[in-house]
């Protein structure tokens, strides 16, 4: 368009110029000038034609561009339609089919069932007896977690023993024959975490009289058998309910531990109040005739208060005091009372020492008030702490224990135990010890024990 304007403008200017020239001037134009002017006009005319041709070409190119844009717009619209159709189809397909299963992050599952526990195999040689493979013990613990606050846990103990033995009550039996398998429920409790500092436990509870009962599983105890006083003087478990928890003392990891419980308590083996009939674990709430009843009138109460003081990882001191008191004979005329003071010390990953002092007393028909006491102290040192870099030595822990028991009925026993633990792994232990025993009861003798323990 501009080219045309320029062309017409130029021609108009030329015409105006020509008309405006005076006749006198025309007369004065020479032929040469006229020819030059003519050539100039011709050149201008050629330029105008060239510009017109260029303009035509540009218009053609523009037309082509417009057509291409239209084609692209049509293709874009078609593509959009295809996408819209595909989206619609996918929505319809999703509505028509059930949602696909997503893989579950195992860490977020709300319940879980597990088996933990331990197994022990033992060889023992008592003084004056033949050595024997004495124990095959399988003690699984079943755990079922229902959510973050509920846990059911039950522990069993399966052991073998010979079928019969000569006893004073049955002198006709003169030799063991066959074997039997004992299957005992060690504990079975339902735990409900009420808040950060309190848990309610109910069932067959491991009693917090000291700490050994709760921490005495075969592979946890570094000596194959239990301390005399723990076995003889206090119950390991009881049927009842318990509130327990830990309260932080400051921010250094220090804890105040507490436990308060009520259980059926001990009973009498024959129902009488005779001193020798005290049965620490025989009152489970169901009588032999199937009726549900405590064997005596009232339950037994107990508690433990402890303080755990870590100074840094692997360095800590734990002290506790616990007690229990309640009726034990059927008539409910006598009380059984126990008090336990416990302590545990860790000085680095290689050294551990712990012990308990146990004091009990109970009334009886025949001996009056029976006073019992006993205690044990044991220590262990892992030779890895010497940094000798010797492969066998590094896996050895030396252990020792002193036991004392006075049963209140004339028998006193002292026992010195020295032994070792060889760690094949952190859970597979080979233990060995020799027990030097001094007792007023001649039937109790020293023994040598080897044990393979595995915790799983």
């Amino acid at each position: 368009m501009k080219t045309r304007r320029w062309t017409f403008g130029l021609l108009a200017a030329i015409c105006v110029t020509g008309m405006a020239l005076p006749p006198r001037a025309v007369a004065q134009v020479s032929l040469t000038d006229f020819n030059a002017l003519k050539e100039a006009v011709q050149k201008l005319s050629e330029q105008v034609q060239g510009l017109q041709q260029t303009n035509v070409l540009r218009e053609q190119i523009h037309e082509q561009d417009v057509q291409q844009i239209q084609q692209l717009q049509e293709k874009l619209a078609a593509t959009r339609q295809i996408a819209t159709d595909a989206e619609q189809k996918s929505i319809e397909a999703a509505q028509a089919q059930p949602p696909s299963r997503q893989p579950i992050d195992e860490a977020t599952v709300n319940h879980n069932f597990m088996i933990l526990g331990d197994a022990e195999f033992q060889y023992a040689k008592s003084a004056g007896q033949h050595g024997a493979f004495a124990l095959a013990d399988f003690a699984p613990i079943f755990l079922y977690r229902g959510g973050d606050k509920i846990l059911f846990e039950a522990g069993f103990d399966t052991t073998l023993q010979n079928g019969s033995a000569p006893t004073p009550s049955d002198p006709t039996v003169n030799h063991d024959s066959g074997y039997s398998t004992s299957f005992d429920l060690s504990f079975a409790q339902l735990d409900y975490v009420m808040n950060d500092y309190m848990t309610l436990c109910a069932g067959d509870l491991l009693l917090p009289l000291g700490t050994y009962s709760e921490r005495g599983a075969g592979w946890l105890n570094k000596i194959p058998d239990d301390p005399l006083a723990v076995d003889a003087l206090i119950p390991g478990s009881g049927i009842g309910a318990e509130l327990q928890g830990g309260i932080p003392l400051g921010n250094a990891g220090k804890l105040l531990n507490y436990s308060v419980y009520g259980v059926n308590g001990p009973s009498s083996m024959d129902g009488s109040g005779s001193a020798g009939q005290l049965d620490l674990g025989g009152n489970v709430g169901v009588r032999s005739d199937g009726t549900t009843a405590n064997l005596h009138g009232h339950p037994t109460g107990g508690a433990r208060l402890g303080v755990f003081m870590p100074f840094k990882p692997h360095y800590d001191l734990e002290l506790g005091i616990s007690g229990q008191s309640g009726e034990w004979d059927d008539a409910g005329s006598h009380l059984y009372t126990a008090g336990v003071f416990d302590a545990a010390l860790h000085l680095g990953p290689s050294f551990e020492a712990k012990g308990e002092y146990i004091l009990t007393r109970y009334g009886s028909d025949d001996l009056g008030e029976v006073h019992q006491q006993g205690w044990f102290a044991q220590a262990g040192y892992k030779l890895a702490g010497l940094n000798l870099e010797l492969p066998v030595i590094n896996n050895v822990e030396l252990v020792g224990r002193y036991d004392s028991l006075h049963d209140g009925m004339g028998t006193s026993t002292r026992r010195y135990t020295a032994g070792f633990v060889y760690y094949f792994t952190n859970t597979l232990l080979f233990e060995g010890d020799y027990e030097f025993l001094h007792s007023t009861d001649p039937s109790q003798v020293g023994q040598f024990i080897l044990q393979l323990s595995y915790g799983f």
């Binding site: 195992e106 860490a107 879980n112 069932f113 597990m114 933990l116 613990i141 755990l143 977690r145 846990l151 846990e153 735990d191 975490v193 808040n195 950060d196 500092y197 848990t199 709760e214 921490r215 592979w219 946890l220 327990q244 830990g246 309260i247 932080p248 003392l249 400051g250 921010n251 250094a252 990891g253 220090k254 804890l255 531990n257 507490y258 436990s259 402890g306 303080v307 755990f308 870590p310 100074f311 840094k312 990882p313 692997h314 800590d316 001191l317 734990e318 002290l319 506790g320 007690g323 008090g339 003071f341 545990a344 860790h346 002092y357 004091l359 006073h371 006491q373 952190n426 859970t427 915790g455």
Partner: protein
């Protein structure tokens, strides 16, 4: 009577030990340069240490899940490696141990986080 005296002596010893412990300065509570920065903010609880050299500002350090794991597990048994169990298994085991060792829930969660972060899968 003798037994009662012994119980009373034991109780007195425990109370004395508690009072003694409250006055102790934990070793890890000392001012450790960079200790705060090295600790994981999501896996720790605050540890307030007594000021030393009469400085008014309290020195704080974080107790991590790993430290709590070392403190508590070692109370009863050799430490188990986090890789021995899966994350879900640790969740169940940790609830069991929380009850068995009377560990406060907050500390139990930190230990669980440490075990799960380093678990078998």
């Amino acid at each position: 009577m003798k037994g009662q005296k012994l119980i009373l002596r034991g109780a007195a010893a425990l109370v004395g030990a508690c009072l003694f412990s409250f006055g102790l300065s934990p070793v890890q509570a000392g001012p450790a340069a960079g200790a705060d920065a090295a600790s994981s903010p999501t896996n720790s609880v605050e540890l307030k240490a007594p000021a030393q050299d009469a400085k008014p500002a309290a020195v704080r350090k974080q107790l991590t899940g790993a430290e709590l794991y070392s403190m508590h597990c070692n109370r009863c048994h050799p430490e188990r490696y986090p890789t021995e169990r899966t994350a879900a298994q640790w969740k169940t085991i940790m609830l069991h141990m929380q009850v068995r060792a009377n560990i406060p829930v907050e500390q139990s969660k930190l230990i669980l986080q440490y075990l799960q972060d380093n678990s078998g899968r």
